[in-house]
Amino acid sequence: MTPILEGKGLVKRYGRVTALDNCDFDLMPGEILAVIGDNGAGKSTLIKAVSGAVAPDAGEVFLEGAPVRFHSPIDARNAGIETVYQTLAMSPALSIADNMFMGRELRKPGFRGSILRQLDRSTMERIAREKLSELGLMTIQNINQAVETLSGGQRQGVAVARAAAFGSKVIILDEPTAALGVKESRRVLDLIQDVRARGIPIILISHNMPHVFEVADRIHVHRLGKRICVVDPKACTMSDAVALMTGAMEPNEIAA
């Protein structure tokens, strides 16, 4: 089976710091792949390299077996890869609907859209509201509220809803439950499984071991800028995974 998204020999240096050191990566169709690693292990850089936010210094990225070169997140998005960044990437002064449709606005049909370039506000607001209630993550009264008036958890919910609504090939979630309470985290985990049920694979970066072990099909363990091993969550324990990512245990000790 060809991986849907694959990275080979990725290298990224920031000055004298090597964030990615000849790193390999693969995501199989329909799976949830968790990426775990210590702080500074290079997880975020890996994700940025496969989602177009940074250009790797060396190495190649393949989407469905074909080599791709993303020059910007827009390229990756157009190819069907949606990412929820840790920083959430939202414009605080703009509304929820504006943010969800940023960069892919819908225009009114007919003359008002083609000549006057008028945005179709009501449709965008309706879809945004539907997506948010699908997620059931929050009670937002007004879809035209500025994002800066939302709480951290609500903002995260909007960002996840945006990715889930538009991702067609791959969805990448960088710490999607970090700012969420217990119930909200549960909804995001349910959503992740819903998305997989629709056949869309997910990359989940998280420090939360119970969440990772609950939803992941495979776990990519990242350490010192490269993948040191991939483990099966059913065949290993959380403490093994933590030992691997911190270097307390060598991968071959559990390779069997």
């Binding site: 920083t87 990437a89 414009s91 002064a93 504006d98 943010n99 960069g103 009670t139 119930k183 609950e214």
Partner: protein
């Protein structure tokens, strides 16, 4: 999973109500604050209406006449047009110090192309408009591609464009009568018409239409939303799929084009083509933008506010002059207004509501 992993079940019996926004603390102050947060041009509008009312009471029909009120419009038309260009740039969290210089150079190009090279005025005007757009493109390229700070780029361009203007025109003024006889199209924006004592010029109509069109574009098109997103947080805009470089370059190009139109309107306003005119346009446009409630930090404010800001300055200037006050009082009060406007902006940005 072990039993300890079942912590989520503990919340099973809890109410499903999550955060709800019960408006319990909604005193008049909070309501006002919320309204300002939603509609940032409200403050300058209130100040404008109040100042017209105060001067109207103090001066009576001398001020409160169609003639005097439309005179204000004529006096602010150049600042209003340049202010529209400045608003676009400031909404992207930039600043354009070269607006006045671009305006003057464009007007000089229009005049010199007509009179030095004998080109038809239509061609000369098109060349002037292209010249302004090109200057804007250089600004935009340096800001967006070379990632230089807008303040520095436009400070440099201000000097470069102004010097080019003096070198190219040889500091020579083209007289009003000459223009009126051989190329009246250059003075088009000065064409006046009377409606019941109120005097309008093409330049005034152009300013109002320009602001209304830009208000529509900023609010109802994707490009307009991108301008706000870029000013708000360029990195977030880039990650969420906005082409930040292209947005910035088009903003500066449009700003240059609008400045060139201001140059055309300037010929209509003063009659002649003078390389020494419009020297204060950059400062005056920034003043209008700031009083109009557009945040210098970008991403907040509306272009209508800028128009109100320009009109406030116009009302104060004319009102104080008619009262016989020293012109320095106008500058003093405008200084106070600028600081007050920024203080109000800071207060609005505190999203306590």
């Amino acid at each position: 999973m072990s039993a300890s992993d079942n912590y989520e079940a503990a919340s099973a019996g809890a109410s499903d109500r999550v955060a709800e926004f019960e408006d319990t603390r909604r005193g008049p102050v909070q309501k006002f604050h919320h309204a300002l947060h939603q509609t940032p041009s409200l403050v300058p509008l209130i100040v404008l209406v109040l100042s017209i009312a105060v001067f109207g009471v103090l001066l009576g029909s001398k001020f409160f006449s169609p003639f005097a009120l439309t005179l204000i419009l004529q006096q602010v038309q150049i600042v209003g047009i340049v202010g529209a260009a400045q608003s676009l740039v400031i909404l992207t969290a930039g600043i354009d110090l070269s607006v006045g210089a671009i305006m003057v150079l464009s007007s000089v190009v229009m005049g010199q192309f007509t009179f030095r090279y004998g080109l038809p005025p239509e061609v000369a005007i098109a060349a002037g408009l292209m010249c302004g757009t090109l200057m804007g493109f250089i600004n935009g390229f340096l800001v967006a591609r070379m990632k230089l700070p807008p303040f520095i780029v436009t400070l440099g361009m201000w000097q470069i464009v102004l010097a080019t203007n003096f070198l190219y025109s040889a500091n020579e003024t083209i007289r009003s009568q000459e223009i009126a006889t051989s190329a009246p199209l250059l003075q088009l924006f000065g064409t006046k018409f009377n409606i019941a004592g109120a005097v309008f010029t093409v330049g005034v109509i152009f300013m109002v239409l320009l602001v209304l069109i830009l208000a529509y574009v900023l609010r109802h098109t994707a490009w307009g939303r991108h301008v706000y997103a870029v000013g708000d947080d360029p990195e977030a805009a880039e990650l969420s799929g906005v082409n930040v470089t292209r947005t910035l370059i088009t903003v500066y190009m449009l700003s240059g084009l609008i400045c060139a139109f201001a140059g055309w309107a300037l010929i209509g306003r003063i009659g002649s083509v003078s390389p020494t005119s419009g020297q204060l346009a950059n400062i005056e446009s920034i003043t209008a933008v700031v009083i109009g409630g557009i945040s210098l930090f970008g991403g907040r404010g509306s272009i209508l506010g800028m128009l109100f800001g320009a009109l406030i300055v116009g009302v104060f200037s004319l009102g104080l002059r008619l009262l016989g006050a020293d012109a320095q009082w106008t500058y003093l009060l405008i200084g106070v207004l600028i600081i007050l406007a920024v203080a109000v902006d800071q207060w609005i940005r505190k999203v306590a509501a």
